[in-house]
Protein backbone atom coordinates (compact mmCIF):
# COMPACT_ATOMS: atom_id res chain seq x y z
CA UNK A 1 0.00 0.00 0.00
CA UNK A 2 1.33 3.46 -0.91
CA UNK A 3 1.64 5.81 2.02
CA UNK A 4 1.12 9.51 1.27
CA UNK A 5 2.25 12.43 3.37
CA UNK A 6 -0.38 15.03 4.12
CA UNK A 7 0.94 18.33 5.39
CA UNK A 8 -1.58 20.43 7.30
CA UNK A 9 -1.00 24.16 7.77
CA UNK A 10 -3.29 25.74 10.34
CA UNK A 11 -3.16 29.45 11.11
CA UNK A 12 -5.59 29.25 14.03
CA UNK A 13 -4.48 31.20 17.08
CA UNK A 14 -6.60 29.98 19.98
CA UNK A 15 -6.74 26.59 21.63
CA UNK A 16 -9.03 24.93 20.84
CA UNK A 17 -9.31 26.76 17.54
CA UNK A 18 -12.09 26.33 15.03
CA UNK A 19 -9.48 26.66 12.28
CA UNK A 20 -7.57 23.67 13.65
CA UNK A 21 -10.88 21.88 14.14
CA UNK A 22 -11.73 22.33 10.46
CA UNK A 23 -8.20 21.32 9.49
CA UNK A 24 -8.52 18.13 11.52
CA UNK A 25 -11.89 17.29 9.96
CA UNK A 26 -10.46 17.80 6.47
CA UNK A 27 -7.41 15.70 7.36
CA UNK A 28 -9.41 12.78 8.73
CA UNK A 29 -11.78 12.85 5.76
CA UNK A 30 -8.86 12.94 3.31
CA UNK A 31 -7.21 10.01 5.08
CA UNK A 32 -10.42 8.01 4.78
CA UNK A 33 -10.83 8.93 1.14
CA UNK A 34 -7.26 7.81 0.44
CA UNK A 35 -7.78 4.52 2.26
CA UNK A 36 -10.93 3.97 0.21
CA UNK A 37 -8.62 4.20 -2.81
CA UNK A 38 -6.22 1.67 -1.34
CA UNK A 39 -3.63 4.16 -0.10
CA UNK A 40 -2.57 5.24 3.35
CA UNK A 41 -1.64 8.61 4.77
CA UNK A 42 0.70 10.00 7.38
CA UNK A 43 -0.13 13.44 8.68
CA UNK A 44 2.26 16.27 9.61
CA UNK A 45 0.64 19.30 11.19
CA UNK A 46 2.27 22.74 11.11
CA UNK A 47 0.63 25.10 13.61
CA UNK A 48 1.75 28.54 12.46
CA UNK A 49 1.16 30.11 15.86
CA UNK A 50 4.27 28.30 17.06
CA UNK A 51 6.25 29.94 14.25
CA UNK A 52 4.86 33.47 14.56
CA UNK A 53 8.18 34.95 15.68
CA UNK A 54 10.19 32.73 13.34
CA UNK A 55 8.16 34.08 10.43
CA UNK A 56 8.59 37.71 11.48
CA UNK A 57 12.32 37.07 11.87
CA UNK A 58 12.45 35.53 8.41
CA UNK A 59 10.97 38.71 6.95
CA UNK A 60 13.77 40.88 8.33
CA UNK A 61 16.68 38.44 8.20
CA UNK A 62 15.88 36.80 4.86
CA UNK A 63 16.39 33.26 6.14
CA UNK A 64 14.35 30.67 8.03
CA UNK A 65 15.72 29.55 11.38
CA UNK A 66 16.01 25.84 12.10
CA UNK A 67 12.54 25.37 13.53
CA UNK A 68 10.80 27.20 10.69
CA UNK A 69 12.95 25.44 8.10
CA UNK A 70 11.74 22.09 9.43
CA UNK A 71 8.14 23.23 8.99
CA UNK A 72 8.86 24.49 5.48
CA UNK A 73 10.55 21.21 4.53
CA UNK A 74 7.50 19.32 5.82
CA UNK A 75 5.13 21.31 3.64
CA UNK A 76 7.32 21.39 0.55
CA UNK A 77 8.05 17.68 0.74
CA UNK A 78 4.46 16.50 1.29
CA UNK A 79 2.31 14.73 -1.30
CA UNK A 80 -0.58 17.07 -0.54
CA UNK A 81 -1.33 20.13 1.53
CA UNK A 82 -4.37 21.09 3.57
CA UNK A 83 -4.21 24.82 4.29
CA UNK A 84 -6.66 26.46 6.65
CA UNK A 85 -6.81 30.05 7.87
CA UNK A 86 -9.10 32.14 10.00
CA UNK A 87 -10.56 35.19 8.25
CA UNK A 88 -8.99 38.42 9.46
CA UNK A 89 -10.24 41.69 7.97
CA UNK A 90 -11.97 39.97 5.06
CA UNK A 91 -8.99 37.84 4.01
CA UNK A 92 -6.51 35.20 5.16
CA UNK A 93 -4.62 36.19 8.29
CA UNK A 94 -1.26 37.89 8.06
CA UNK A 95 0.34 34.93 9.80
CA UNK A 96 -1.04 32.55 7.16
CA UNK A 97 0.12 34.78 4.31
CA UNK A 98 3.57 35.26 5.83
CA UNK A 99 4.21 31.53 5.79
CA UNK A 100 3.48 31.38 2.08
CA UNK A 101 5.45 34.61 1.54
CA UNK A 102 8.67 33.08 2.82
CA UNK A 103 8.46 29.90 0.72
CA UNK A 104 10.48 29.83 -2.47
CA UNK A 105 7.92 30.66 -5.06
CA UNK A 106 8.55 27.47 -7.02
CA UNK A 107 8.26 25.21 -4.01
CA UNK A 108 4.53 24.40 -4.23
CA UNK A 109 4.34 24.07 -8.01
CA UNK A 110 1.94 21.25 -8.90
CA UNK A 111 1.17 20.47 -5.26
CA UNK A 112 -2.42 19.24 -4.63
CA UNK A 113 -3.95 21.59 -2.06
CA UNK A 114 -7.23 21.70 -0.18
CA UNK A 115 -8.19 25.18 0.98
CA UNK A 116 -10.22 25.93 4.08
CA UNK A 117 -11.20 29.01 6.06
CA UNK A 118 -13.15 29.81 9.21
CA UNK A 119 -14.89 32.96 10.38
CA UNK A 120 -17.40 34.19 12.90
CA UNK A 121 -19.95 35.08 10.26
CA UNK A 122 -21.09 33.42 7.02
CA UNK A 123 -20.71 36.75 5.24
CA UNK A 124 -17.05 35.82 4.67
CA UNK A 125 -17.98 32.61 2.92
CA UNK A 126 -16.35 33.52 -0.41
CA UNK A 127 -12.95 34.21 1.16
CA UNK A 128 -11.61 30.91 -0.14
CA UNK A 129 -12.49 31.95 -3.67
CA UNK A 130 -11.50 35.61 -3.68
CA UNK A 131 -8.44 35.51 -1.42
CA UNK A 132 -6.99 32.04 -1.01
CA UNK A 133 -7.46 30.65 -4.50
CA UNK A 134 -5.54 33.46 -6.26
CA UNK A 135 -2.67 33.05 -3.81
CA UNK A 136 -2.35 29.36 -4.58
CA UNK A 137 -2.84 29.97 -8.29
CA UNK A 138 0.16 32.31 -8.11
CA UNK A 139 2.15 29.57 -6.39
CA UNK A 140 1.07 27.19 -9.18
CA UNK A 141 -0.37 24.76 -6.65
CA UNK A 142 -3.33 22.68 -7.78
CA UNK A 143 -6.23 23.62 -5.51
CA UNK A 144 -9.20 21.24 -5.50
CA UNK A 145 -12.49 22.71 -6.79
CA UNK A 146 -14.24 22.58 -3.43
CA UNK A 147 -12.93 25.01 -0.86
CA UNK A 148 -14.38 24.56 2.61
CA UNK A 149 -15.57 27.56 4.58
CA UNK A 150 -17.04 27.15 8.06
CA UNK A 151 -18.70 29.94 10.06
CA UNK A 152 -19.46 29.85 13.76
CA UNK A 153 -23.00 28.70 13.07
CA UNK A 154 -21.72 25.58 11.27
CA UNK A 155 -20.33 24.34 14.58
CA UNK A 156 -23.28 25.60 16.66
CA UNK A 157 -24.91 22.25 17.20
CA UNK A 158 -21.84 20.97 19.02
CA UNK A 159 -21.04 18.85 16.01
CA UNK A 160 -20.70 19.59 12.35
CA UNK A 161 -23.58 20.87 10.31
CA UNK A 162 -24.67 18.30 7.75
CA UNK A 163 -24.05 20.47 4.75
CA UNK A 164 -20.57 21.35 6.10
CA UNK A 165 -19.88 17.64 6.56
CA UNK A 166 -20.91 17.12 2.98
CA UNK A 167 -18.51 19.83 1.77
CA UNK A 168 -15.70 18.36 3.83
CA UNK A 169 -16.23 14.91 2.32
CA UNK A 170 -16.50 16.26 -1.19
CA UNK A 171 -13.32 18.33 -0.84
CA UNK A 172 -11.44 15.44 0.79
CA UNK A 173 -12.55 13.12 -2.01
CA UNK A 174 -11.30 15.60 -4.58
CA UNK A 175 -7.92 15.88 -2.85
CA UNK A 176 -7.57 12.11 -2.49
CA UNK A 177 -8.50 11.76 -6.15
CA UNK A 178 -5.76 14.18 -7.14
CA UNK A 179 -3.14 12.52 -4.98
CA UNK A 180 -3.81 8.82 -5.50
CA UNK A 181 -2.20 7.29 -8.50
CA UNK A 182 0.27 10.16 -8.79
CA UNK A 183 3.98 9.56 -8.43
CA UNK A 184 5.27 10.40 -4.96
CA UNK A 185 6.11 14.04 -4.33
CA UNK A 186 9.49 15.08 -5.61
CA UNK A 187 11.68 17.73 -4.12
CA UNK A 188 12.18 20.92 -6.10
CA UNK A 189 15.23 20.76 -8.37
CA UNK A 190 18.50 21.10 -6.48
CA UNK A 191 20.03 24.44 -7.49
CA UNK A 192 23.45 23.03 -6.62
CA UNK A 193 23.25 20.06 -8.95
CA UNK A 194 25.66 20.22 -11.89
CA UNK A 195 24.18 22.75 -14.34
CA UNK A 196 22.32 21.42 -17.35
CA UNK A 197 23.33 24.48 -19.37
CA UNK A 198 27.07 24.70 -19.90
CA UNK A 199 28.83 27.97 -19.21
CA UNK A 200 29.98 28.03 -22.84
CA UNK A 201 26.32 28.10 -23.77
CA UNK A 202 25.79 31.18 -21.57
CA UNK A 203 28.78 32.84 -23.21
CA UNK A 204 27.62 32.20 -26.74
CA UNK A 205 27.83 35.32 -28.84
CA UNK A 206 29.48 37.32 -26.08
Amino acid sequence: MTTRTLAVVSAGLSDPSSTRLLADRLTVATGEALRARGEDATVEVVELRGHARDLADNLTSGFANGSLQTAIDTVVGADALIAVTPVFSASYSGLFKTFFDVLDKESLTGKPVLLGATAGTPRHSLVVEHAMRPLFAYLRAVAVPTGVFAAAEDWAGGGVDRSLAGRIDRAAGELAGLVSGRPAATRPADPFADPTTSFEELLKGR
Binding site: A56, D57, L59, T60, S61, G62, F63, N65, G66, P191, F192, D194, P195, F199, L202, L203, G205, R206
Partner: protein, 380 residues
Amino acid sequence: MQFGIFTVGDVTPDPTTGRAPTEAERVKSLITIALKAEEVGLDVFAQGQHHNPPFVVSSPTTTLGYIAAKTEKLVLSTSTTLITTTDPVKIAEDFATLQHVADGRVDLMMGRGNTGPVYPWFGRDIRDGIPLAVENYQLLRRLWREDVVNWEGQFRTPLQGFTSTPRPLDGVPPFVWHGSIRSPQIAEQAAYYGDGFFHNHIFWPPEHTERMVEFYRRRFEHYGHGSADQAIVGLGGQVFMRKNSQDAVREFRPYFDKAPVYGGGPSLEEFTSQTPLTVGSPEQVIERTLGFRDYVGDYQRQLFLIDHAGLPLKTVLEQLDILGEEVVPVLRREFAALKPAHVPDAPTHASLVAAAGGGHDSTVQAADDVTGRTVEVAQA
Protein backbone atom coordinates in the same frame (compact mmCIF):
# COMPACT_ATOMS: atom_id res chain seq x y z
CA MET B 1 46.33 32.62 4.18
CA GLN B 2 45.38 36.27 3.84
CA PHE B 3 43.53 38.22 6.50
CA GLY B 4 41.89 41.56 6.07
CA ILE B 5 38.83 43.71 6.40
CA PHE B 6 36.04 44.69 4.06
CA THR B 7 33.76 47.68 4.28
CA VAL B 8 30.56 48.80 2.58
CA GLY B 9 31.32 52.45 3.38
CA ASP B 10 27.98 53.27 4.98
CA VAL B 11 27.27 56.61 6.63
CA THR B 12 25.14 55.53 9.58
CA PRO B 13 24.33 57.55 12.69
CA ASP B 14 25.93 56.24 15.86
CA PRO B 15 22.83 54.98 17.70
CA THR B 16 24.38 55.77 21.07
CA THR B 17 24.84 59.46 20.24
CA GLY B 18 22.51 59.99 17.29
CA ARG B 19 25.31 61.66 15.36
CA ALA B 20 26.11 60.64 11.79
CA PRO B 21 29.57 61.32 10.39
CA THR B 22 29.75 63.74 7.48
CA GLU B 23 30.65 62.28 4.11
CA ALA B 24 34.04 63.93 4.43
CA GLU B 25 34.61 62.25 7.79
CA ARG B 26 33.50 58.89 6.47
CA VAL B 27 35.68 59.00 3.36
CA LYS B 28 38.67 59.91 5.53
CA SER B 29 37.78 57.25 8.07
CA LEU B 30 37.94 54.58 5.36
CA ILE B 31 41.46 55.73 4.62
CA THR B 32 42.42 55.80 8.29
CA ILE B 33 41.01 52.30 8.74
CA ALA B 34 42.94 50.99 5.73
CA LEU B 35 46.22 52.50 6.92
CA LYS B 36 45.63 51.05 10.36
CA ALA B 37 44.98 47.65 8.79
CA GLU B 38 48.46 47.69 7.30
CA GLU B 39 49.96 48.98 10.54
CA VAL B 40 48.54 46.09 12.58
CA GLY B 41 49.74 43.53 10.06
CA LEU B 42 46.64 42.69 8.06
CA ASP B 43 47.01 41.73 4.40
CA VAL B 44 43.92 43.01 2.59
CA PHE B 45 41.64 46.04 2.57
CA ALA B 46 38.53 45.74 0.42
CA GLN B 47 35.87 48.34 -0.11
CA GLY B 48 32.44 48.14 -1.66
CA GLN B 49 30.82 50.17 -4.42
CA HIS B 50 27.46 51.86 -4.04
CA HIS B 51 25.76 54.66 -5.92
CA ASN B 52 23.18 55.77 -3.41
CA PRO B 53 23.03 57.25 0.08
CA PRO B 54 23.96 56.34 2.79
CA PHE B 55 27.18 55.19 1.10
CA VAL B 56 30.33 57.12 0.13
CA VAL B 57 31.99 54.49 -2.04
CA SER B 58 30.86 55.37 -5.56
CA SER B 59 34.45 55.84 -6.78
CA PRO B 60 36.49 53.02 -5.23
CA THR B 61 39.77 53.43 -7.09
CA THR B 62 40.03 57.07 -6.02
CA THR B 63 40.15 56.00 -2.38
CA LEU B 64 42.18 52.87 -3.08
CA GLY B 65 44.69 54.87 -5.11
CA TYR B 66 45.31 57.19 -2.17
CA ILE B 67 45.63 54.24 0.18
CA ALA B 68 48.06 52.63 -2.25
CA ALA B 69 50.31 55.66 -2.02
CA LYS B 70 50.30 55.55 1.78
CA THR B 71 50.92 51.83 2.21
CA GLU B 72 53.58 49.34 1.22
CA LYS B 73 52.24 45.84 1.67
CA LEU B 74 48.47 46.02 1.87
CA VAL B 75 46.59 44.34 -0.97
CA LEU B 76 43.78 46.60 -2.19
CA SER B 77 40.61 44.89 -3.20
CA THR B 78 36.89 45.46 -3.59
CA SER B 79 33.77 44.08 -1.96
CA THR B 80 32.32 44.27 -4.49
CA THR B 81 32.88 45.92 -7.87
CA LEU B 82 29.53 46.15 -9.65
CA ILE B 83 30.03 44.18 -12.85
CA THR B 84 26.36 44.65 -13.79
CA THR B 85 26.03 48.43 -13.78
CA THR B 86 29.63 49.54 -14.33
CA ASP B 87 30.98 49.69 -17.86
CA PRO B 88 33.57 46.91 -18.17
CA VAL B 89 35.78 49.36 -20.08
CA LYS B 90 35.81 51.64 -17.05
CA ILE B 91 36.63 48.74 -14.73
CA ALA B 92 39.44 47.61 -17.03
CA GLU B 93 40.93 51.11 -17.12
CA ASP B 94 40.50 51.93 -13.44
CA PHE B 95 41.98 48.74 -12.08
CA ALA B 96 44.83 48.50 -14.58
CA THR B 97 45.71 52.06 -13.56
CA LEU B 98 45.48 51.11 -9.91
CA GLN B 99 47.79 48.16 -10.58
CA HIS B 100 50.47 50.56 -11.83
CA VAL B 101 49.88 53.01 -8.98
CA ALA B 102 50.02 50.24 -6.36
CA ASP B 103 52.84 48.22 -7.93
CA GLY B 104 50.51 45.28 -8.38
CA ARG B 105 48.96 45.20 -4.90
CA VAL B 106 45.50 44.95 -6.42
CA ASP B 107 42.80 42.40 -6.95
CA LEU B 108 39.06 42.80 -7.18
CA MET B 109 35.82 41.05 -6.49
CA MET B 110 32.92 41.05 -8.90
CA GLY B 111 29.41 41.42 -7.55
CA ARG B 112 26.02 42.10 -9.07
CA GLY B 113 24.47 44.43 -6.50
CA ASN B 114 21.04 43.66 -5.15
CA THR B 115 19.53 47.16 -5.00
CA GLY B 116 16.86 47.20 -7.71
CA PRO B 117 16.58 50.98 -8.21
CA VAL B 118 20.31 51.31 -8.98
CA TYR B 119 20.14 49.36 -12.23
CA PRO B 120 17.93 51.79 -14.19
CA TRP B 121 20.16 54.71 -13.19
CA PHE B 122 22.80 53.03 -15.33
CA GLY B 123 20.43 51.93 -18.08
CA ARG B 124 20.17 48.39 -16.77
CA ASP B 125 17.49 46.06 -15.45
CA ILE B 126 18.03 43.99 -12.30
CA ARG B 127 16.33 41.04 -14.00
CA ASP B 128 19.33 40.91 -16.35
CA GLY B 129 21.73 40.60 -13.40
CA ILE B 130 23.20 37.24 -14.32
CA PRO B 131 23.46 37.82 -18.11
CA LEU B 132 25.04 41.22 -17.40
CA ALA B 133 27.58 39.62 -15.05
CA VAL B 134 28.39 36.95 -17.65
CA GLU B 135 28.72 39.27 -20.64
CA ASN B 136 30.45 42.17 -18.90
CA TYR B 137 33.01 39.97 -17.20
CA GLN B 138 33.86 38.14 -20.39
CA LEU B 139 34.48 41.52 -22.04
CA LEU B 140 36.54 42.72 -19.06
CA ARG B 141 38.79 39.68 -19.38
CA ARG B 142 39.35 40.34 -23.05
CA LEU B 143 40.08 44.03 -22.47
CA TRP B 144 42.90 43.04 -20.12
CA ARG B 145 44.21 40.14 -22.19
CA GLU B 146 43.94 41.37 -25.77
CA ASP B 147 45.65 44.58 -26.89
CA VAL B 148 43.03 45.23 -29.53
CA VAL B 149 39.45 44.20 -28.94
CA ASN B 150 36.68 43.90 -31.51
CA TRP B 151 33.56 43.08 -29.60
CA GLU B 152 29.82 43.05 -29.90
CA GLY B 153 27.36 41.94 -27.24
CA GLN B 154 23.85 42.37 -25.99
CA PHE B 155 24.26 45.18 -23.48
CA ARG B 156 26.99 47.56 -24.51
CA THR B 157 27.94 49.65 -27.52
CA PRO B 158 30.16 47.51 -29.79
CA LEU B 159 33.91 48.05 -29.71
CA GLN B 160 35.98 48.14 -32.88
CA GLY B 161 39.76 48.28 -32.68
CA PHE B 162 39.60 49.31 -29.02
CA THR B 163 42.65 49.25 -26.77
CA SER B 164 42.09 49.62 -23.05
CA THR B 165 44.91 51.63 -21.54
CA PRO B 166 47.02 51.41 -19.55
CA ARG B 167 47.69 47.76 -20.22
CA PRO B 168 47.87 45.57 -17.09
CA LEU B 169 51.06 45.84 -15.07
CA ASP B 170 53.71 43.37 -16.34
CA GLY B 171 51.13 42.09 -18.82
CA VAL B 172 49.29 40.31 -15.99
CA PRO B 173 45.70 41.29 -15.16
CA PRO B 174 44.66 41.52 -11.51
CA PHE B 175 43.30 38.38 -9.87
CA VAL B 176 39.51 38.31 -9.75
CA TRP B 177 37.14 36.94 -7.15
CA HIS B 178 33.43 36.51 -7.74
CA GLY B 179 31.13 37.17 -4.82
CA SER B 180 27.63 35.80 -4.50
CA ILE B 181 25.43 34.80 -1.59
CA ARG B 182 23.13 32.33 -3.29
CA SER B 183 23.42 32.32 -7.08
CA PRO B 184 25.04 29.08 -8.25
CA GLN B 185 25.55 30.67 -11.69
CA ILE B 186 28.14 33.03 -10.19
CA ALA B 187 29.97 30.19 -8.44
CA GLU B 188 29.87 28.42 -11.82
CA GLN B 189 31.35 31.50 -13.48
CA ALA B 190 34.20 31.65 -10.96
CA ALA B 191 34.85 27.93 -11.45
CA TYR B 192 34.76 28.18 -15.24
CA TYR B 193 37.56 30.74 -15.33
CA GLY B 194 39.51 29.30 -12.40
CA ASP B 195 38.95 32.60 -10.57
CA GLY B 196 38.39 32.93 -6.83
CA PHE B 197 35.01 32.61 -5.17
CA PHE B 198 34.09 34.74 -2.18
CA HIS B 199 31.10 34.28 0.08
CA ASN B 200 30.22 37.25 2.24
CA HIS B 201 29.34 34.86 5.07
CA ILE B 202 27.45 37.42 7.10
CA PHE B 203 23.74 37.86 7.76
CA TRP B 204 22.89 34.25 6.74
CA PRO B 205 23.42 30.82 8.29
CA PRO B 206 26.64 29.06 7.32
CA GLU B 207 24.75 26.32 5.45
CA HIS B 208 24.31 28.76 2.55
CA THR B 209 28.04 29.40 2.44
CA GLU B 210 28.81 25.72 2.67
CA ARG B 211 26.59 24.79 -0.30
CA MET B 212 27.91 27.58 -2.50
CA VAL B 213 31.55 26.80 -1.75
CA GLU B 214 31.05 23.07 -2.21
CA PHE B 215 29.44 23.72 -5.59
CA TYR B 216 32.23 26.10 -6.64
CA ARG B 217 34.92 23.61 -5.64
CA ARG B 218 33.22 20.76 -7.50
CA ARG B 219 32.85 22.87 -10.67
CA PHE B 220 36.43 24.23 -10.38
CA GLU B 221 37.64 20.65 -10.58
CA HIS B 222 35.19 19.89 -13.41
CA TYR B 223 36.72 22.68 -15.49
CA GLY B 224 40.19 21.28 -14.98
CA HIS B 225 41.79 23.99 -12.87
CA GLY B 226 42.94 21.57 -10.18
CA SER B 227 41.37 19.43 -7.51
CA ALA B 228 38.36 20.74 -5.62
CA ASP B 229 40.43 21.47 -2.54
CA GLN B 230 42.77 23.65 -4.60
CA ALA B 231 40.02 26.11 -5.57
CA ILE B 232 40.51 29.67 -4.29
CA VAL B 233 37.97 30.47 -1.59
CA GLY B 234 37.45 33.64 0.41
CA LEU B 235 35.05 34.25 3.26
CA GLY B 236 33.67 37.28 5.01
CA GLY B 237 32.62 37.45 8.61
CA GLN B 238 31.59 40.05 11.15
CA VAL B 239 33.11 40.36 14.59
CA PHE B 240 33.06 42.66 17.58
CA MET B 241 35.50 42.01 20.38
CA ARG B 242 36.33 43.09 23.90
CA LYS B 243 38.58 41.35 26.37
CA ASN B 244 35.52 40.34 28.36
CA SER B 245 32.81 38.86 26.14
CA GLN B 246 29.98 40.40 28.19
CA ASP B 247 31.47 43.84 27.58
CA ALA B 248 31.53 43.12 23.85
CA VAL B 249 27.86 42.15 23.86
CA ARG B 250 26.84 45.16 25.95
CA GLU B 251 28.76 47.61 23.77
CA PHE B 252 27.72 46.14 20.41
CA ARG B 253 24.01 45.61 21.16
CA PRO B 254 22.78 49.16 20.38
CA TYR B 255 24.62 49.04 17.04
CA PHE B 256 23.14 45.66 16.25
CA ASP B 257 19.63 46.71 17.26
CA LYS B 258 19.69 49.75 14.97
CA ALA B 259 21.62 48.30 12.04
CA PRO B 260 19.50 48.37 8.88
CA VAL B 261 20.28 44.72 8.12
CA TYR B 262 19.82 43.42 11.64
CA GLY B 263 17.36 45.60 13.53
CA GLY B 264 13.78 44.58 14.23
CA GLY B 265 14.34 40.89 13.65
CA PRO B 266 16.10 38.11 15.53
CA SER B 267 17.99 39.17 18.64
CA LEU B 268 21.77 39.60 18.82
CA GLU B 269 21.96 36.27 20.61
CA GLU B 270 19.89 34.54 17.92
CA PHE B 271 21.95 36.08 15.14
CA THR B 272 25.24 35.06 16.74
CA SER B 273 24.03 31.49 17.14
CA GLN B 274 22.41 31.21 13.69
CA THR B 275 24.94 33.13 11.57
CA PRO B 276 28.74 33.56 11.65
CA LEU B 277 28.40 36.91 13.49
CA THR B 278 30.66 36.71 16.53
CA VAL B 279 30.43 39.16 19.41
CA GLY B 280 32.69 38.25 22.29
CA SER B 281 36.26 37.82 23.39
CA PRO B 282 39.23 37.50 21.01
CA GLU B 283 39.43 33.83 22.03
CA GLN B 284 35.83 33.29 20.93
CA VAL B 285 36.54 34.94 17.58
CA ILE B 286 39.59 32.73 17.09
CA GLU B 287 37.66 29.58 17.89
CA ARG B 288 34.68 30.48 15.68
CA THR B 289 36.88 31.51 12.77
CA LEU B 290 38.95 28.33 12.90
CA GLY B 291 35.62 26.48 12.73
CA PHE B 292 34.81 28.02 9.33
CA ARG B 293 37.33 25.60 7.86
CA ASP B 294 35.13 22.70 9.01
CA TYR B 295 32.51 23.52 6.40
CA VAL B 296 34.41 25.25 3.58
CA GLY B 297 37.72 23.39 3.74
CA ASP B 298 41.13 25.07 3.62
CA TYR B 299 40.60 28.54 2.27
CA GLN B 300 42.75 31.42 1.16
CA ARG B 301 41.28 34.70 2.39
CA GLN B 302 39.37 35.79 5.47
CA LEU B 303 37.92 39.31 5.55
CA PHE B 304 36.17 40.78 8.57
CA LEU B 305 33.50 43.47 8.59
CA ILE B 306 34.27 45.76 11.52
CA ASP B 307 33.15 49.30 10.65
CA HIS B 308 29.46 48.79 10.19
CA ALA B 309 26.27 50.36 11.55
CA GLY B 310 27.65 53.61 12.92
CA LEU B 311 30.48 52.25 15.07
CA PRO B 312 32.76 55.20 15.85
CA LEU B 313 36.15 55.34 14.18
CA LYS B 314 37.93 55.09 17.53
CA THR B 315 36.15 51.82 18.27
CA VAL B 316 36.93 50.45 14.81
CA LEU B 317 40.61 51.24 15.28
CA GLU B 318 40.53 49.43 18.64
CA GLN B 319 38.99 46.44 16.90
CA LEU B 320 41.86 46.52 14.41
CA ASP B 321 44.35 46.53 17.27
CA ILE B 322 42.72 43.46 18.76
CA LEU B 323 42.61 41.73 15.37
CA GLY B 324 46.24 42.51 14.67
CA GLU B 325 47.64 41.78 18.12
CA GLU B 326 45.55 38.91 19.45
CA VAL B 327 43.48 37.27 16.74
CA VAL B 328 45.19 37.18 13.36
CA PRO B 329 48.62 35.96 14.58
CA VAL B 330 46.93 32.94 16.16
CA LEU B 331 44.71 32.33 13.13
CA ARG B 332 47.70 32.58 10.80
CA ARG B 333 49.63 30.01 12.78
CA GLU B 334 46.73 27.60 13.29
CA PHE B 335 45.42 27.72 9.72
CA ALA B 336 48.94 27.31 8.33
CA ALA B 337 49.52 24.24 10.50
CA LEU B 338 46.30 22.66 9.19
CA LYS B 339 46.73 23.44 5.50
CA PRO B 340 48.08 20.59 3.31
CA ALA B 341 50.99 21.49 1.05
CA HIS B 342 49.05 21.02 -2.20
CA VAL B 343 46.50 23.70 -1.27
CA PRO B 344 47.66 26.97 -2.86
CA ASP B 345 47.75 30.42 -1.28
CA ALA B 346 45.64 33.22 -2.72
CA PRO B 347 47.22 34.44 -5.97
CA THR B 348 49.15 37.71 -5.75
CA HIS B 349 50.59 39.85 -8.49
CA ALA B 350 54.00 38.27 -7.89
CA SER B 351 52.65 34.73 -8.08
CA LEU B 352 50.67 35.50 -11.23
CA VAL B 353 53.72 37.04 -12.87
CA ALA B 354 55.76 33.97 -11.97
CA ALA B 355 53.03 31.69 -13.31
CA ALA B 356 53.07 33.66 -16.57
CA GLY B 357 56.77 32.98 -16.93
CA GLY B 358 57.80 36.45 -15.85
CA GLY B 359 56.51 39.95 -16.39
CA HIS B 360 56.81 41.95 -19.56
CA ASP B 361 56.02 45.51 -20.38
CA SER B 362 52.80 45.46 -22.33
CA THR B 363 52.63 49.11 -23.31
CA VAL B 364 50.76 49.64 -26.55
CA GLN B 365 52.27 52.46 -28.62
CA ALA B 366 49.95 54.84 -30.42
CA ALA B 367 49.10 54.41 -34.07
CA ASP B 368 51.62 55.89 -36.47
CA ASP B 369 50.18 59.22 -37.52
CA VAL B 370 52.53 59.47 -40.49
CA THR B 371 51.71 56.19 -42.17
CA GLY B 372 48.23 55.99 -40.67
CA ARG B 373 48.85 52.48 -39.41
CA THR B 374 46.49 51.48 -36.61
CA VAL B 375 47.57 49.74 -33.44
CA GLU B 376 46.13 46.53 -34.84
CA VAL B 377 48.22 46.70 -38.00
CA ALA B 378 51.31 47.83 -36.14
CA GLN B 379 51.08 44.79 -33.91
CA ALA B 380 50.51 42.34 -36.71
